[in-house]
Amino acid sequence: MFSHDYLPAISVGLIAGFLARFYMLKVDYRHYPSYPHGYAAHLAFGFIGAALGAVAIPALLAEDYVAVTFLALAAQQFREIRSIERESLAKTEETEMVPRGAGYIEGIAKLFEARNYLAMGIGLLTTGGYLLGGLLLAVPTGILSAFIMNKAMIGPKVGSMAEVRQEDLLFEGPNIRVGDEIIMNVGEKMALDIWQEKGIALAVEPYDDNGRTTLGNAGQRQAILHDVASQLGVRLDIGEQHFTPLMRIELSSGRILMIVIPFEPDVEPLIEAIKKTPVLEAAMRKPLETSVGRTASD
């Protein structure tokens, strides 16, 4: 295809892109992927992505324009990753005590697709850096682009849209109430006693209309519940539906109310977990960006 002169440039880009993908693979609280098989699959795709990115500029320089069309092919392949992720997460959803919800799954799937594009982009930039200024330029280019791209990928968190505080869990006969809303009706005395003893109620109070609409999304609420459950543990088992954590909107105010029985009874980490839940792309609404929304809000 092209001469071996470009081999160091391509190698540098490839290594940079691959390392960047490796860096992005850190296991976070989502515990996903959390198994060597998962790593292997994602690293392999990251490697391919980095390779394609690294080859692009040398291919252009060698006037091998056909090679650049490989980038289009890569996009096709990476889209496949999204559907693989979506499928496998959706299939394991049934086995989750507190499911992630379709919105969260879509978000994770997109993230994994995007990370391959990032690996590709970093490979491309680093090769470019090498061709312009040798290793001296390639190394900082690689590190900087990996850092910037990784930072740019971090979306807003629930904590940036709403205040989270503890609320009183009120009991009216079999009904569990928080604020103005009856959240759950529990017919078993034993279950009600446990709610009374260990239950915690929280209110997520959106700062503005954007937050209210976004956090009201059912997928977003499910994502919060899943994150809380995976970090603090929820007292819940199959056949014990009365301990299911719930989030309901207080229709009189737009606040989101939550009831939960965490295994760890500390409120502070619970609030932290809610605040750190990512805002889902699928849930994001910005009514205040529109003139209609702005007019209606005041």
Binding site: P174, V186, G187, Q241, H242
Partner: protein
Amino acid sequence: MDININNEILAVVTLKENAVKVAGGAPIFLVEDEKELKEITMLLARITLGMVHDLKNGVYILVRH
């Protein structure tokens, strides 16, 4: 294939004396006293993997959500 009936009344449990309050499509369990009511509702909830709701008029229903 696993078929679940969600958000439907799976069973109705109430005291014998409340029998006039209940009728219809779901299985109805009439029980002698509060103790039996507690036990039956608990067992039905575990078996159907659902939960018990208290309608506050002495009638308890089982629903799987």
